[in-house]
């Protein structure tokens, strides 16, 4: 089997049979989303060089290894960002605590 068929098979295993047929279009979209996500996050991490260069190198390597080992991230990310009220409330409460904690305590050290 060539590489393309292996990728399609893997995507089919992850998505299951619920979404209908896995067309060329959806495979391309999934691959593009995956590559875009990994590339954007890694480039954004390079901005850490303003804080300290060592931290940036460590962060980039760690995130790269994590991404490569758990490769089909985009399908999990898509399933997480669904429309159900409970998952939206969960993320809202997490975001609220993160924002308030960051502002209240983060400003003491910056």
């Amino acid at each position: 089997m060539n590489l393309y068929d292996m990728i399609v098979k893997k995507i089919k295993d992850i998505q299951g049979a619920d979404d209908g047929p896995v067309t060329n279009l959806s495979t391309t979209s999934m691959l593009t989303a995956e590559i875009t996500l990994i590339a954007s996050v890694l480039v954004a991490l390079i901005m850490l060089r303003q804080v300290s260069t060592v931290l940036m190198i460590v962060a980039v390597l760690v995130v790269l290894v994590v991404f490569l080992t758990s490769m089909p991230i985009m399908s999990r990310l898509k399933k997480e960002q669904n429309d159900s009220l409970s998952s939206m409330m969960f993320y809202v409460i997490i975001a609220m605590t993160v924002v308030i904690a960051l502002f209240y305590w983060g400003n003491l050290n910056v």
Binding site: L25, T36, A44
Partner: protein, 501 residues
């Protein structure tokens, strides 16, 4: 006293109430809506720049007749500079924003009376109230007044979704209101903390208190207030974690309604973002948070957009992603960056309205928005396909259209500020936006028509085509003459970046 400034808010409210009374009289609604909607872009062009003091008088320092009768501990100290009224400030940037909002409102109303079977007075009411609320949010200098109109805009958004008769709209509207009723009281709590610490709700007076040291700038209560107001800002503009519900709202409204709702989101983003920058920019942390949230919005929005199979949700997620570009401009903090961000916002409103109305034609003709079932519509409407294609080019940043100019300015600003990584990410995501749009265009227009696709209505109303052409002409004009537009935005950007009130 410049009377046209409050009229910019009052006239749409009166039009809304009048059209609600006329509900069910079809001929009357059509003509009256179009005539009244012409006032929306016309009023900001006629008004003069200045301040308007709503429900009060100007500060005592400028009002010697009133100050004569008062004791000296009021007229002698800082109290004399405080604003006792709700202050509306109308300068060049606000004129541009209210004009663009009015233009999109006019075209949305124009499209909606011709696209629905029976023109609805209630729907026109919702659109007009939304425009009135957003005008007040752009003009106001008083943070509690902003909160009141913010809630009115949220109710108008929910009304637009409820009227649309799309499957699942009531559930989405209820989810939006539940999340909103968690986030808005927290915004009110932030405003209450600001009131408690500084004793004012007028933004100019709050900045005065913080700058002159009457209030300790590192007071932890102020920091908590900043966090809560930023959280309310995330809800109002549809940034993560509220991006999924915002794009669901875009998909459950009629196309003209979606065009208005995305305009509401962008202008709430700018108005509240400007106030956060004005009050809290002395905290270096606030700029990092704005940059971080915008980056997250860009990445999550655009990666989710590629994976969608429903065209309206795809454009909805793209709209959320484009908000991130505006945030990066505001977060950079330099004059050039803020000007670029505000210019991107103006372009964003126009382009997304064009795409929603353009792809809405497809939904109007076939009744379905699932890309798996569409195809081959290029043969039927080649002109609309061309207009939508140009709109998509505009969104991705193809020269000489408007988003190219603003994205180029953003990338230059981020390189000048010392963050070339942001420029790289912006270019990468623009390429992916282009790919997403071409995917949508291909599945709707270019590929062969599936056998079971039935066209419900043959003719497209001329009003829709006229709206698309007007929006495209504005895109081209802003793309060819960007200095004309940025000259309106420059004074506001200079005052924000310089840290002056």
């Amino acid at each position: 006293m410049n009377l046209l400034i409050p009229l910019m808010v009052i006239v749409p409210i009166l039009c809304a109430l009048f059209l609600n009374l006329l509900h069910k009289k079809d001929r009357a609604i059509k003509t009256v809506t179009i005539i009244l909607a012409l006032a929306l872009p016309a009023l900001p062009l006629l008004a003069n720049y200045g301040l308007h003091y709503f429900g009060g008088y100007e500060p005592l320092l400028q009002n010697p007749t009133l100050a004569n009768n008062l004791p000296s501990f009021i007229t002698g100290g800082a109290l004399a500079t405080f604003h006792p009224a709700i202050t509306y400030s109308f300068q060049s940037a606000q004129q541009l924003f209210v004009f663009i909002l009015g233009l999109v409102g006019l075209l949305a109303l124009f499209t909606s009376v011709y696209e629905t079977r029976r023109p609805s007075g209630v729907y026109a009411y919702m659109l007009f109230m939304g425009v009135a609320a957003m005008t007040a949010i752009i003009l106001t200098d008083d943070i509690f007044n902003l909160y009141v109109f913010f809630e009115i805009a949220a109710l108008a958004t929910v009304g637009i979704v409820l009227v649309s008769n799309i499957k699942g709209n009531y559930e989405t509207a209820l989810k939006y209101m539940i999340l909103g009723s968690v986030a808005s009281p927290l915004l009110l709590l932030g405003i209450a903390l600001l009131l408690g610490v500084t004793g004012n709700v007028n933004v100019t007076d709050i900045i005065y208190s913080i700058k002159t040291g009457a209030v300790d700038p590192q007071n932890p209560v102020l920091l908590l207030a900043c966090g809560l107001i930023v959280f309310g800002w995330l809800y109002g503009s549809g940034l993560p974690p509220f991006h999924t519900i915002k794009s669901a709202i875009y998909s459950k409204a009629l196309p003209s309604g979606s065009a208005m709702i995305q305009a509401f989101s962008v202008f709430t983003f700018i108005a509240l973002g400007i106030i956060i920058l004005r009050i809290f920019s002395y905290l270096p942390f606030s700029q990092w948070v704005i940059l971080g949230v915008s980056l997250l919005a860009m990445i999550l929005g655009i990666t989710m957009a590629i994976l969608q199979t429903d065209i309206k949700r795809m454009i909805g997620f793209l709209a959320v992603g484009e908000l991130g570009y505006i945030g990066i401009g505001l977060g950079l903090g330099t004059t050039f960056g803020i000007t670029a961000g505000l210019f991107q916002a103006v372009n964003e409103v126009i382009i997304t309205a064009l795409l929603f109305i353009g792809f809405g034609v497809v939904v109007y003709q076939t009744g379905i928005s699932n890309t798996r079932k569409l195809g081959g519509l290029m043969v039927r409407n080649p002109w609309v396909a061309l207009l939508v294609l140009l709109g998509g080019f505009a969104m991705a940043g193809v020269p000489p259209l408007n988003a190219f100019q603003s994205k180029l300015m953003l990338i230059q600003a981020s390189i000048d500020a010392g963050f070339p990584e942001l420029g790289i990410i912006m270019i990468l995501l623009s390429i992916v936006t282009f790919m997403t749009f071409m995917k949508a265009f291909h599945t709707v227009y270019l590929r062969p028509k599936p056998a079971d696709l039935e066209i419900k209505t043959e003719t497209i109303p001329k009003a829709t085509v006229i709206s698309l052409v007007v929006l495209l002409v504005v895109c081209i004009i802003f793309g060819l003459f960007p200095q004309y537009v940025t000259s309106y935005l420059q004074p506001l950007a200079t005052s924000l970046a310089g840290g002056v009130v």
